[in-house]
Amino acid sequence: MPNPTATELVEIEINGEKFAGEQGSTILEIARENGIEIPKLCHMDQLEPTGACRMCLVELVDSGKLVTSCTHPAEDGMKVETDNERIHRSRKLNLELLLSNNTEVVDCDSDETRCEFSKLLKQYDVEVESYAGEKRNHENIEDNPFFKLDHDKCILCGRCVRACEEIRGRSAIDFVGRGFDTKIAPPLDRSLTEGTCQFCGQCVDACPTGALTSKMRIEKGDPTQVEKTSTVCTYCGVGCRMNVYTKDGEVVDVAPDPEAPANDIRICSKGRFGFDFVNRDDRLKQPLIKEKDEFREASWDEALDLVSEKLSEIKENHGSNAIAGLSSATCTNEENYLFQKFMRATVGTNGVDHCARLCHASTVAGLVRAFGSGAMTNSIGEIKDADTILITGSNTTESHPVIGLEVKKAVENGADLIVVDPREIDIAKEDATMYLRQNSGSDVAWIMGMIRVILEEGLWDEKFVEARTENFEEMREAAEEFTPDRVEELTGIDKKKLRKAARLYANADRGSILFAMGITQHSHGTDNVLAIANLAMVTGNVGKESTGVNPLRGQNNVQGACDLGALPNVYSGYQNVDLEENQKKFEDLWDVDLDPNPGLTVVEMIREAEKGNVNGMYIMGENPMVSDPDLGHVEKGLENLDFLVVQDIFMTETAEYADVILPAASFLETSGTFTNTERRVQHFDRALEPKGNSRPDWEIISQVSTRMGYPMKYGSADEITDEIADVTPIYTGITAERVANKQGLQWPCVTGDCTGTKYLHKGQFSRGLGKFHALHYREPAELPDGDYPFTLTTGRMYYHFHTRSMTGRSQGLDELVPEAYMEINPADAEALEVDSGDLVRVSSRRGEIEIKAKISDRVPSETVFIPFHFAEAAANRLTNSVLDPIAKIPELKVSAVNLEKVG
């Protein structure tokens, strides 16, 4: 009896040798699997074949027919020849035909995609001059900041069109016209900026001729001899692996690395076109010391001496806890580890934190309590196989574009998608099966409401609850109060819809929840996260492939910065500082006395600075003067310091307040590891020499520490990677040697020979039993009232990152979105007589800004949205710094504001 589940095989003979392949494979696929090269041009592995260019011709021996191997299915018993004189002649003829369609060839022979055509022409001895065809005189496409399409170099292979449609789902370009006049273009002679294009560059990366080329490269004279370095993008938690092309000490171009584990061959606009900031002339290149309110250049020796002297002085006079440090979610694991080690061992305080406090502190607090681990339970690659996805508080397609594409894949594969968000974001409009709009800050109510429905209708997973969890009864009791009527009243979500959504999620086989700051940035953020954990556990949707609870981390290394202990309560690997055995362990390892008391968090540091209890701060790669809530107070806090040292790559809004500025190397100028949102530790190499006199952060920290009497002598970042593996249980197997490849390793990796962990809590939760929590409803701290009648919510947008210190200095990104805006509902806009582009004064109890209105039905009436990236109209002048009592995360997502039209 044949096994019906086994894949059927076919056997074919290629060049006289027999090979087997899966039924349904093309000839080309079987040849490639067996290392037989067949040239191809219009086809790319990731695209559906079209058979357009006929470069992949092979001969069917029996019939003598020439067929295109990229489209022709392999049939059992088939005999194929992949090269002979006849085939060679045909291929050459095809190349000549293609060439007569264009008039210019980019002559290059590196392994970049753009050289494919040029290399084939050489391989087949085609004389370029004699075939170059008639000019078509199409106007080139260059009215966008990022790339150019030069029709004279285009062979109309259509790879760009298919890449845009099949990989990105945008269909921004297509063939236009017919016959000789055909060209690739956006519709209706419009600019790409007016259509569905998102400037992801997938088309550029697909082009085999260089007809599509980034402007950054063109500006550098379109060099064809470039150096390639595989590195990791720093613009979000996905951690896209990408190749950076450099020449003469500058970035020339960027493209996704085809061997990338997290992103496959995709990156977004920021990664593709946003790294020109590294080349900028206004990079900090020399240490600066402030004298009489002016910065002057200084030598490294002078600056480092001053920093160590001042910090030592404060330590002496006011104690170690009068110094606080902000580490950075953009810096490497090694730098974060070293920074917290410096703060703890050298300065002697646990007062070290970083901006994870502002994004996922409540996730870590909540998920550690419920599951025992605060990270994404599943991997990015598992999302597409989930059968039900619940997205809440994550504008996935803008903030994590590659994860957004995976969600779209899941939907294409038939998954149901439920989106719960106060804003009707793109993924809610374009892909959701159900969209529920909750009132800002009412999350505990709708989630517990769903749980109540699930219990009431008997849809819960009794076996899972019984075997794997504790505290269920308490939670069940608490859920009682969330009757559908009450939930509707609190959240604004129609009770029938809530019921339907609850059923949809409860009936999932592989249900995955994705969430981000819409859940975490609340004064009850930890409760929100605990509610999500309750929901997942009650339905048994955790601990399996494609099934779990997935917080999407915002910054490229915010996972790593947390993992490596840039937090006031834990050493690396979440080892609590107030546990005596941990204290002992690190005292022995580091050979120094350590403070057993947890230190101050981000917002607390600023408050204590304002009160004069913190006198000195060391800020590495963070920009609290834009990113933190209630900027008025941040300003006062920083001004009140006796000494502030800022280590950064640019003069940021925060650096302006510094006494000493230490110029740091950018990520392209250092090496190390980042940990992405799916716990994957990825190594990357240095692509460039540090700009000017800047130095890698880890070197600077070591030098300050050594000067302060605690010598740090590391010869390379790798030595720090190994020290991390030594002292951090979840990183045990992640040594410099083992992680020096493109796949990296996903923690927990607790043995020296581990292969990493794809998904968490299989069979058992990290903490043993999963713990339910009884939750009650709490309102946001500040609700709209007569004086401040609107709800303000803040967040990210696609083209910018964090405080724009990088994307604002990327020419193209800045050109595309140069200024702040506020989304306002059409009805509110009409009532205020405001049009898109009009200036509006937005005020809260903490400050006011002026900002341009953008009318949009994404936001409900009486709610406005402002992206927090822009210093000129900083949303954080308005936000509330009230904290979640457990996670100390501020309520950035809900504040009450008033709007007035200006002029």
């Binding site: 297509d174 236009v176 017919r178 049009d835």
Partner: protein
């Protein structure tokens, strides 16, 4: 502002009516293009956008189809369409002079409509009548062996 919206809505309603019998799927793109062109004489941008929406097809694909088939016009057309062949044979026999002469006579740029709405003038590649080169075509009728003067006279015949 409100007036523009008003007009937009009216146009939308018109298209809605034109397409009313077609299923809202991708397969309807070509029939939809035909219907809109029949009703409006050509395919205006807002019509293409409406079709894209209606058939749930990306605008770029709709535009690609509209520009691929010679039966579709993206600009308003005159009552008569004049095409001058620019194929190799015609080119050698001086088709360009004919083309220039007609452009001069009609006082329009290629693809435009004469102010009286009578003519649109374009070029084509080989009308398949090379033995008659140089060739021009008015609507469906082929005129071979033309001189600039003759070609001008032909147009006058259509004037009245």
């Amino acid at each position: 502002m409100p007036e523009i919206n008003e007009e937009l809505r009216k146009m939308q309603n018109t298209y809605e009516k034109i397409l009313e019998d077609l299923p809202e799927t991708r397969e309807s793109v070509i029939p939809a293009l035909q219907l809109v062109q029949k009703s409006r004489g050509y395919l205006p941008g807002d019509g293409l956008e409406f079709i894209a929406d209606y058939t749930d097809t990306p605008l770029a694909n709709v535009y690609s189809i509209a520009t691929f088939y010679s039966q579709f016009y993206l600009e308003p057309q005159g009552e008569h369409t004049v095409k001058v062949c620019q194929g190799t044979a015609c080119h050698i026999k001086g088709a360009n002079e004919i083309y220039e002469a007609l452009l001069g006579k009609l006082g329009i740029a290629p693809g435009e409509v004469t102010p009286d709405g009578k003519f649109t003038l374009t070029t084509v590649r080989c009308l398949g009548a090379c033995s008659l080169a140089p060739v021009m075509m008015v609507d469906d009728k082929v005129y071979g062996n033309q001189t600039p003067d003759e070609a001008r006279d032909v147009l006058d015949e259509y004037r009245d």
